[in-house]
Each structure stands twice: as C-alpha cells, then as structure tokens.
C-alpha cells in the first residue's frame, strides 16, 4: 500500500528510491483452497507483502500446465511463484504432488533454456499460514530482485 502511494506521487515529484529499484514482474499461480486463502488471510490481518506479484487463482496447482509457466516467462515475467497445499492436504487428493513432479521436471528444462531455475519456485502454504505466505513471497521477490530482469520476454511485457 505504501509503495502504491509512492508510485502515484511519482507522477508529480522527482525520482525516488522506489523508482530506482528494479521491480520484477512476478506471476503467482496459487491454489484456491490453501494459498489463495492464506493470501486473503495475510490481507485481512494487514501483513504487507511485495506489490510486485500478480496473483492468479487456480482451483488446484495440479492444473498448472508447464506451458503456463513457460508462457509467463516468454511474456516477460521475471519469476513465477507457485503456491499450493501441503502434501497430503490437497483438496483434490493429490494435485499438489502432480504439480511437484511437473515443476521438478520443468526446472531442469528452464536451465537448458537459459532461465535460472531460481526464477521458478514452488511452496506449500496452508490456509491458516498468512505469515508464511508473506515470508515466502518477500523472500522470492527479494531473490528475483537480486537476479535482475530475466530478459527472456519476447512478447510485449505484461
């Protein structure tokens, strides 16, 4: 919230620290039942987390097609954050395990494509873990900030 206020102020004033900093494009694919609810909880308990993430709610991480991730990078994402239920806690029995398999495989491929595997992260965040959501998102965004722009976007930036 603080950052958005600063951003609007930018229009009138000179460059601030915020503007000098690199703001990565982060796509977060989160499951409806656990991580999205945790994000909601983080919101209602007023925990601040970086404004750089763009959250996309899916029913289950098991429906994440690796193409979604590759497409995100092609369209200029600097990082893709995936949040699902803890193993065994999946609302759809085992969707999160399917996601883990796919993302494990995709990480190896990403390296071959020249994308640092750290740009793709998978975390288990339960519905009551608002603080965990905040921590993981913060850490991830910081990590991407240090890595810098991916430079992989071939289409228009998102």
């Amino acid at each position: 919230m603080e950052q958005t206020t600063q951003q609007t102020d930018l229009v009138k004033t000179e460059q601030t620290d915020f503007d000098k900093e690199f703001h990565p494009n982060i796509v977060a694919l989160v499951c409806n039942w656990c991580t999205y609810t945790a994000a909601d909880l983080a919101g209602v308990t007023r925990l601040k987390y970086p404004a750089e993430i763009r959250m996309i709610r899916l029913m289950c991480t098991g429906m994440i097609d690796p193409r979604f991730i590759v497409e995100s990078f092609l369209r200029g994402a600097d990082g893709v954050f995936i949040g699902g239920c803890h193993p065994g806690d999946c609302h759809y029995i085992n969707g999160n395990l399917k996601a883990r398999l796919r993302i494990g495989g995709l990480k190896a491929l990403l390296q071959g494509m020249g994308i640092e595997p750290q740009r793709l992260a998978l975390h288990w965040i339960g519905a009551s873990e608002g603080t965990e959501f905040q921590k993981q998102v913060k850490d991830f965004v910081e990590g991407i900030r240090e890595l810098g722009p991916s430079g992989f976007g071939v289409y228009d930036s998102i």
Binding site: H91, Y92, N94, S128, T131
Partner: protein, 822 residues
C-alpha cells in the same frame, strides 16, 4: 413435495456446523446459533488434525454451494445460503411439541457493528483491559475488545461484555463509528421450528482449579490447547515452540496425559477419548520443529482404525513414551522444570524439561437449562458423548437425519437457480450392500424419507454378524431393526445375493445382483451404500481347546447355565491377542469393553473366582471408562505386557496354563485357567472384493477407506459410493447405526432431487480434439472420466469436482475446465 423444515442448531462447533450443512444441503432452513461471536468452536484453535496432520477442513464443505459461497475455507466462517448464523445468542426456552416447536432465543448486543468494523485494530491499542486469552488458553493476553477468531473473515472485532469497563476509549478512536457502548441490550426472538439440535460441545478441564502440576504457578506448564496455539502460525509465537517464562526455544517437552480425566479423586471417571491422539499429533509436529518430546501416559488409547499406525510412525521417528503418571514437578533455576516420576516400582527419576504440556480432559460443557428430555430436541456431539472430530461428524449427520425425519418427506430443491442451471437426472433409488446394523439403519432412514432401497445380503437372514459379538440386549435391538425393514414397503430385500457387476455414472449406476443360482436383476440406482460388515477373528487351529475362546464367545457363554454352575477358580483374559501387531495393526475397540463387561457377569455367579487381565492398553474411551473402574473394584487383576514378551498359552488335555511377566512384581507369573478369553478382535468381511468391484480404496487389512478420515468419514473417494459400519472400521452397535444414518444422509443429498444440480466448475471434453489417449482417465482423482461410446472420453458430471488435473495433462487441449458465474 413438502415444505422445507426450519431448524435451530445450538452450538456452532464442528457438530453444529455439520448438522446445519446436512440440513441445508437437503433444502431445509437452519438457524445456527452460538454464544460466541464467531462460529467454529474449538476448531478455531486447531490447525492440523490427527491421524494425518492435515487441515483439510474445506473438504467437508458441500460440493455445490461451496462454489457459490464467498469463502472457501471453513476457518473464515460459516457461509451457506440456507443457514443463518446468529452469534451471541442462546436458547432461553423451548415450548410446543415435535414438528412445531417454539424456541425463544436471546441475543445480546455485539457492541461492534459487523457492517462498519473494518478490523483496523486501532481500538486494540487503546483498550486498557488485558486478560488471558481463552483461545490460546492463557498463553497470551488479549484486550476486552478483541479478534474472536484468528482467521475469521471479515475480521470484525468483538467486545467481551464481562471484562469491558465501558471506558469508551475504543469508541473515540474508531474511525468508522462501529462501536456502540450504550447500555447492554438483550433481544429476544421467537422461532417456530420443526426440531432443535443441541450441539453445545465440551468444556476443558482447568488444571488451575485443582492446582495440578503447578499450573498457574509455573509459566512453563501449559495446557495442550495453549500448545496447539503455539504450533500455529497464526498463534502468539507464530509457530515457534518457546518457553513462556523466558522466550528461549523449548527442546525437551513432556506431555502429561489424563489431567482432569480418568481421575477418581476429581470425580472424573471418564476418558476424554481424543487426548492421546492429540498429544501424539502435537509431539509429532514438535519433532518436525526440532523438539524432543516425551509422553507420560496411562494407556495409549489408539482405538481408531489408523491410530495405532499413527502411534507406530511417531515412535519410530523418535517419540519417547513413558507409562506412568509423574507425581511432582518443580521449577529449576535458569529456566525449565524438573519432573519426578517413577516408571517402575522402586525407581525415582528426576528429569529436566523445558516445557510441560498438560493434556487436559474434557467434559460436556453446557451450563444452561437442559432441554434434552423434550420431544423434538436432539442432542449430538461432545455434549452427548466425548468424541473426536470424525465421530462428531458422523453423530451430527445421524442426528440431522433424525431431525429431518421429524419434518416428514424431503423437500425439492428450487428449480430455477441463477448460477447452476445445469442439472443431471438421477435415479432416486439406493443400493445397500449388507443387511447388518449399519445397512439396516441406512435403509430405514432412507425409506423413511420416501427413497426406495434395495438391500443385498449374502446370508439367508438379515442382521449380520452382530449376534456373534454382542449380548442379548443388542440382539433384541437388531431384531427390531430387521422387523422394521421387513415391514417397510420401500425396502426390497435380496437375500443370498451379491453384487457382481457395477457400471454407470454417479446418480445413474447399474449393478447386476446375482443369487446363488447366478440369476438376478440389474438394479438401476443413484447411489450405493457399502455396509458389508465383518466378523470376529477366528482363532488359529493351534489354539482350538474347549477352554480357550474369544472374549466375545466367552461373554456369550457366561449366560449358559452349564458355565454358571461350573466351578471357575480362575479366568484369564489376554487382550490385544495378535492384534495391534505388524500383521493386523489396528485396535478392534470392542474386545476391551466386552471383556470388562464379562467381569461383572462372572462376579454375579462366581464371587470368589480370580480374574486376570493381560493387557497392553485398555481401550475404554468416553464413559466406557466406568467399566474399567468397575472391573478393578470387583477385584480383577490387570497385568500389562509388552509385545516382545507376550503371555504364553500352554494347552494341555485337561487344563490351560497362562504364563506371563508381571512388571510390578518383577517376576514371572503362572495361572491355571478354567477359561481363557482372547481379545483377538474383529475384521472386515469382503472389503477387498467390494473395493475392486466398486473401484474404491481399501487398506491392507481389508477395511474400506474413506475420502478423508476426518472430514468425510462415510464418503468413499468416489462420489455416489458411501461406506459405513464395520466394513470401514471397528465400531460398536450404536456407532454402526449412526454411521449407517450418516451414510444415508450423504446418499440422500445426492438422490433426493431427481434433477441433481451439477457443481459450478466441471471439466468438459471437446470430442473433436480427443484422441482417447486415456491420460485424463488415469490422472482423475475422482474416477470421473470414462471412455465414451462416441470415440471420445466422457465426464461423469456429478463426480467431477473441477480440479483441472485433466486440463493440464491433455496433450490436445481437448479437456477444458468450465467455471460458471466466476
């Protein structure tokens, strides 16, 4: 087609929520009330549950309306269009008769307007009153204005009227003007309802009252509820395990079981029924965070189906179990506590622990007027019996069905629904496999609601194997169930039959039932309830001897005049005989109570005979604890044994000798037994065959596995197939009847409306793109995919729950997930 009923459910804990959802799902209206400002009860404090350490609460939400409700998580609150939640309310009076009750409700002012409060928390900073937080069981402090649930949404604050001093500071800082501190007002409201369900829950023992183990004096002695909050990331320590005295990380943690329960001095002759598992869970989770746990226990009561395995897992990963009740505890310089205990006679050990957790017992908690005797008032949950979550759900579903029966036949769901207009035709007929107590109670419940039922029973009689394992009273109850079922015109009974072929989609199944001549009808039905039961385990051939029998046989034989007149000098019971071991790793629940009941019977005819019990853990949860106390009063001798040195049976022609080791005497003991009862347990019947036929999961021992052990206890993993009774887990007669009714409730939800609504998000196949590779078939966790006749895969619309796994796996983009109204 009748009018929907209207019900009041008192208590919005897990039982109340389940009962409300059940009624709401079948079209009834519910007023759910609680004296607290939020719904959820004890569950607000619990993050993860045994026996799988998962949260999973969302799984109990109705399949349809969860999509329409605003929130997807039960922790945020209770949302259903047919349920009105009334916080800060209690029942004052109930008048009238069943079917037409007049309930007087009294609400008190919330003082914070939920529509205006935005949960900013400015008032929390200015409130001058601090008091121990009930939710964290005094682990942390809260203000008189506080957030009643850690995760509730919207996060409206509430004022505790008992501690508020009306200073008005909160009102001054409130930016939205949500607070009104005027004089307390109480509002009364009369509701005309069909029935009232009381689910008022339990109260936890306060160890401070009896100044047990220095609770209240030493900061590092906390209750299990406080520890639960410590484990939670939304709790006061944000999931870190710390010593409350100095905030240092707690490594050595001790749990002391049975504090305030199983204690005759406190008048608590009952077992709380869940604390052993609760402590095991907490110990397991603390190990994940790097602590070293020790549990001091009396009997490790792992009486659920998977609970023994849970215990085994915990002990193999480093949990230490000590069987004894520690006698004293002292604070130590530099933090921590010194616990003194004596595990074997003559040995006193002092051990240092950073944190001591008291596993506090429970007792029914309702303090208001007792309405339970009134007609039309039904009681469920912890206020009736001390149950764990899954049993509470079963009991609540069973009671909600009984409540719905008062209102007469079921209602038709409204036809024109704005969001889910898509409907599927279903057959309103249910197939029940098994004519034992669970199957019969399910059938009678469904038939009572006008749904036709077909019972398939393999024997040539109804009633199942209950006669094997129960006493005369239980057999009479079963005969009554059988008579009712035989009289009922909606129930068709196929004896000496078995289901052979099963096909179709949810709501439209076809089952070919064959009799002994391999002939029989193909039954078209909407749902199936598997209640195939089980039987007592037979003894191995090496133990065939007239004086050796199972505890169930022995209990029945005690009625024989022959036995009554015979001299019985010594009877020996060996409990957990070849059960709770590697081969058969579950507790059968009924052997301990049955053997203990035998003691009373033996004493009435043979007051002088010796009664010896060799046992591992006596499993008498809840009020069954009386039996154990009574048996000890009657002079039965209890000798614990370990699995590595089990008591030995020496069979001779005329006599049986039992040899064992008594740890209290520290020496070998030998008994010449006139009768030996072996607690060899129960086992499921045709679990594996049924699981294969109906395509559901089964465990190694042959018990059918439910969709979720906690939240969906009678659903199989496949929609439309429900499981109950001994086929699912060892149960008593009462529990089997409850499970049957709970399964009927779940089946009812599916078939009561011939035009069933579809979930708002279901997968669809674009047939032109489908290449029938079958990947979606294998990946679907709900068996909602099958190869269709038109060269493309097809979706079972009622079974599909819209997870989208098929969308991600389909190489041709043929599978799409459609979410309506989003």
């Amino acid at each position: 087609m009748s009018k929907p009923g209207r019900f009041v459910v008192a208590g919005a804990g897990i039982s109340g929520v389940r009962a409300s959802l059940d009624l709401a799902e079948t079209g009834h209206e519910v007023v759910l009330l609680d004296t607290a400002p939020v719904s959820g009860g004890i569950l607000l404090a619990l993050d993860r549950q045994f026996p799988n350490d998962h949260c999973g609460m969302c799984r109990m939400l109705p399949m349809l309306d969860r999509d329409q409700s605003k929130y997807f998580c039960m922790r945020l609150g209770m949302f259903h269009k047919n349920v009105t939640f009334m916080p800060n309310t209690e029942i004052k009076e109930i008048g009238g008769g069943p079917g037409d009750l007049k309930v007087l409700l009294q609400s008190w002012s919330a003082k914070v307007d939920p529509d205006l409060c935005n949960g900013c928390g400015d008032c929390l900073e200015v409130c001058p009153v601090s008091l121990p937080d009930d939710l964290a069981d005094s682990l942390s402090l809260r203000k008189a204005i506080f957030k009643p649930g850690p995760n509730t949404s919207p996060s409206t604050l509430a004022i505790d009227p008992d501690s508020c001093i009306l200073c008005g500071k909160c009102k001054e800082v409130c930016q939205t003007g949500a607070i009104t501190l005027g004089p307390d007002y109480e509002q009364t409201l009369e509701e005309k309802v069909t029935a009232v369900i009381m689910a008022t829950g339990v109260e936890y023992f306060d160890p401070g009252d009896a100044s047990m183990y220095g609770y209240g004096k030493y900061a590092d002695v906390i209750t299990s509820l406080a520890f639960e909050r410590m484990l939670s990331s939304s709790g006061p320590t944000q999931g870190r395990i710390l010593r409350p005295s100095d905030g240092a990380p707690a490594e050595n943690i001790a749990w002391i079981q049975c504090v305030g329960s199983r204690n005759l001095r406190l008048g608590a002759d009952h077992c709380s029924g869940a604390c052993c598992m609760f402590a095991l869970k907490q110990a397991g989770l603390s190990m994940e965070k790097g602590s070293r746990p020790t549990i001091f226990y009396m009997d490790m009561r792992t009486f659920g189906r998977d609970w023994q395995k849970y215990l085994d897992r915990a002990s193999s990963s480093g949990l230490r179990l000590v069987r004894c009740r520690p006698h004293s505890l002292e604070a130590r310089n530099g933090g921590g506590l010194m616990l003194s205990y004596s595990p074997v006679p003559g040995e006193l050990i002092d051990e240092h622990f950073d944190l001591v957790v008291l596993s506090v017992g429970r007792a029914p908690g309702w303090k208001g007027p007792d309405f339970s005797d009134q007609d039309g008032v039904l009681v469920t949950g912890g206020s009736k019996r001390l149950l764990d979550i899954s049993r509470s759900l079963v009991s609540a579903s069973s009671v909600s069905f009984r409540a719905a029966m008062i209102s007469g036949s079921p209602v038709q769901a409204e036809q024109g629904d704005s969001i889910t207009s898509q409907r599927v035709k279903v057959k309103s007929k249910v197939l029940v496999v098994g004519g034992g107590p669970a199957g019969l109670s399910a059938s009678l419940a469904l038939a009572g609601q006008g749904i036709s039922v077909v019972i398939v029973e393999k024997n040539d009689f109804l009633g199942g194997n209950v006669s094997q394992i129960s006493d005369a009273e239980a057999r009479e109850r079963i005969r009554e169930l059988v008579r009712d079922a035989e009289k009922n015109q909606d129930i068709e009974i196929l004896l000496k039959s078995r289901p052979m072929e099963f096909s179709g989609t949810t709501g439209n199944f076809q089952t070919h039932v064959l009799d002994q001549q391999n002939k029989g009808p193909i039954i078209e039905h909407g749902a199936v309830i598997l209640a195939s039961g089980g039987s007592q385990s037979t003894l191995p051939a090496s133990l065939v001897h007239p004086k050796v029998m199972t505890v169930f046989d022995l209990h029945r034989r005690l009625d024989d005049p022959e036995i009554k007149e015979k001299d019985l000098n010594c009877l020996v019971f060996i409990q957990c005989f070849e059960t709770r071991t590697k081969e058969k790793n579950y507790c059968s629940r009924l052997c301990c109570p049955t053997a203990l009941r035998s003691v009373e019977k033996i004493r009435s005819t043979h007051p002088e005979s010796r009664i010896i019990f060799f046992y591992r853990d006596i499993m008498t949860p809840g009020d069954l604890e009386h039996l154990y106390t009574r048996a000890r009063e009657l002079g039965a001798i209890f000798i614990p044994y370990q699995t590595d040195i089990p008591p030995k049976l020496i069979l001779e022609k005329e006599q049986v000798v039992v040899e064992g080791f008594d740890p209290y005497l520290g020496e070998e003991v030998k008994f010449k037994a006139d009768l030996v009862g072996l607690g060899s347990g129960l086992g499921p019947g045709s679990g594996h065959e049924l699981a294969e036929l109906f395509g559901i999961r089964v465990d190694r021992e042959g018990f059918l596995i439910e969709a979720d052990p906690k939240w969906r206890p009678v659903d199989s993993g496949r929609e439309g197939i429900f499981i109950c009774g001994l086929a699912r887990n060892p149960v008593s007669l009462d529990e089997a009847v409850d499970e049957g009714r709970a399964a009927a409730q779940r089946a009812m939800r599916l078939v009561y409306n011939p035009q069933a609504r579809m979930s708002v998000s279901t997968a669809r196949i674009r047939p032109a793109l489908c290449s029938m590779c079958g990947l979606c078939w294998t990946v679907c966790p709900y068996f909602a995919r099958y190869p269709g006749s038109k060269g493309a895969m097809e979706v079972d619309p009622l079974a599909c729950q819209g997870c989208g796994a098929c969308v991600a796996i389909c190489p041709n983009h043929a599978s799409v997930l459609e979410v309506q109204g989003d």
